[in-house]
Point group: C2
Chain length 360, copies 2
């Protein structure tokens, strides 16, 4: 297993580098475009470049590239160019998310609306700088969404394929929107059902992170409805596994590896299958501990340790780990039996395995 | 002239009705789609339907339809279907605008974030309802943008044409974004140059209201670069005329006809060519009156009357009216000399005349 992991990590890094190089080139051209209009539009686009390039696993463009490679080995340069649309979409969604959640940090640095607030403070003073920062960030997000669509709309593939890829792009944005409404509402009313969590995961993670990018890539290579169905049968369970693994890391992961403070999911009050499953199986007293800890920013590390113990004792951790394994195996079986190109099948099997085992 | 105006008003009403019927059908299908996910996603989409259908001149879809008719008389149903994408884009931009401006009223009813706040208050209580309303409205806007792209991406025209129309759609969103950054920044720093105002008008009005919609329609009929250039030469001056006429109505228009409270542009601190031109020509004392009135919500009707008198006395009103006439004539001359289809030319001449004379 160690070799496979080392192997896939090396490959992912190579891809990340090539994607980052294209993102850099893209943003430099946009900074030039925005400079012609004014210094301020330039500053916002330069901020968006830094925000996008400061980190990220680039999984979405990589899935897009491999969706394409399932069906075609030609025009590798063009699919890399098109794939960055997914990273632009990602920045757009994160910027708007950060405003909604009032988060101040993203990947260890300032969120976009905070960057824009500081831009305002240094240039125009403190008055209403917070509102100005949020406003510019709403527009900045909108701008990045249009960049992503522009990248696809001007890509060099057959028009028929591009049209379908753009419909898929709009569908991802729509799905994330529906999922986000559900998420905000569930958070507001303070309770989640398993059905709601699964729907949110499907709309916000599976469709957006795996299935959607695979579809866009495959459509740019002329995918049929049957091809898309196969990729959904792979991407949907894998997306869910990805999310559950994320939840496990959010509670049990190492801060050094994930880059997130221990227990941050608890502090943020994130309601996960892991927690829901534990809540259904623990005592009333334990339930009270969990519910008091959830969304409580002042929660202590000791309490988080107690929550962990409950999640372990109720069997919820094992249940979630088993679910991740089963979902991953399902994805692997689907793709292995497919008639897609070997290179792509091999990668999609490895990345599924990586997602099921990842520690960050 | 009365006949032409009556004529065009009747035609616009017919078009508005047909566009509204399609918007209703579209939203009803989306409400159904959103209902499957949850009651809350359904509520948001139903709110977006009411917001979109409560009013509006539908100029953008009408320009899109006539951009198409410049080159083709076929598939009228399909171009009406595609044209509603511009009205969805319009709702998306207005929803985000209303959040940024913290406006509570739009077309005489509640803005979208206020509607969502009230939805929250009635279902989940008052706590953080304002933030919830804004968050849902950010996502609701994003959702409508994806609807607009979906409408175009699934339209039945040649893929090659649809691809170009989608690139034009993304370009409008991008231009409005750049224009909005410039506008927010200029508002924040408290001063505008004539160049800045003209750039904002170009990006936020001319491109978005006239040139862009004409291009999308024309592209769906297979427009050449020369066709697009002609439409820009018509749309850009007409868009500027539209904006200047808007500014004139904002200060001198009748509340009964415009539906906006008298002097609202002054109260909102909108910096217009009309005001800028007056500021450059009036005395220091008059300048002080204008600057104190701008953005002052408590400004009296008497003061607004003084501002009006200054704008008249400096010749700024006459100058703006002349500019509207000259720009409109330029647009009319361009389109009249073109080889476009007669039906479209006739309409584009009449609508230019209408825009130059409109009182609402």
């Amino acid at each position: 297993m160690r070799t496979i992991t080392a192997d896939i990590t090396g490959l992912l890094e190579q891809y990340q580098e090539r994607i980052n190089a294209r993102l850099t080139r893209f943003f430099d051209a946009k900074i030039e475009e925005a400079s012609i209009i004014s210094k301020h539009t330039r500053d916002v686009v330069a901020g968006a470049k830094e925000y996008t390039l400061r980190g990220g696993k680039r999984l979405r463009p990589i899935f897009c590239i491999y969706g394409y490679k399932c069906l075609s080995a030609e025009n590798e340069g063009a699919i890399f160019d098109a794939a960055i649309s997914l990273e632009l979409m990602q920045s757009y969604l994160l910027i708007h998310d950060d405003i909604m959640d009032e988060d101040e940090l993203r990947r260890g640095r300032r969120t976009f609306h905070i960057l824009c607030r500081e831009l305002c403070e240094s240039q125009f003073g403190l008055n209403k700088a917070h509102k100005y920062g949020e406003n510019i960030a709403i527009v900045g997000g909108d701008l990045l969404e249009s960049y992503g669509a522009e990248v696809l709309a001007t890509s060099s593939f057959k028009s028929e394929y591009v049209q379908k890829a753009l419909a898929a792009y709009a569908k991802i944005v729509k799905n994330v929107g529906y999922g986000q409404i559900l998420d905000l509402t569930a958070e507001r009313k303070g309770s989640f059902s398993e059905d709601e969590i699964l729907t949110i995961h499907h709309l916000k993670t599976a469709s957006y992170t795996i299935e959607g990018p695979l579809h866009i890539g495959a459509l740019l290579a002329g995918a049929t409805a049957a091809d898309l169905k196969l990729l959904s049968d792979y991407g949907t369970p894998l997306g869910l596994a990805f999310q559950i693994q994320d939840d496990i890391l959010g509670l049990f992961g190492s801060e050094r590896k994930t880059g997130k403070p221990v227990g941050s999911d608890i502090r943020e009050g994130k309601k996960t299958l892991l927690i829901l499953h534990a809540l259904e199986r623990c005592s009333e007293a334990e339930k009270a501990v969990i519910l008091t800890a959830l969304g409580n920013e002042a929660v202590t590390n000791d309490t988080i340790e107690v929550v962990r113990a409950i999640v372990r004792a109720t069997g919820s951790l094992d249940y979630s780990r088993t679910l991740v394994r089963e979902l991953t195996e399902k994805a692997v079986a689907t793709i292995s039996e497919s008639m897609f190109r070997e290179e792509a099948k091999e990668f999609l099997v490895k990345i599924a395995d990586f997602i099921g085992r990842r520690e960050y």
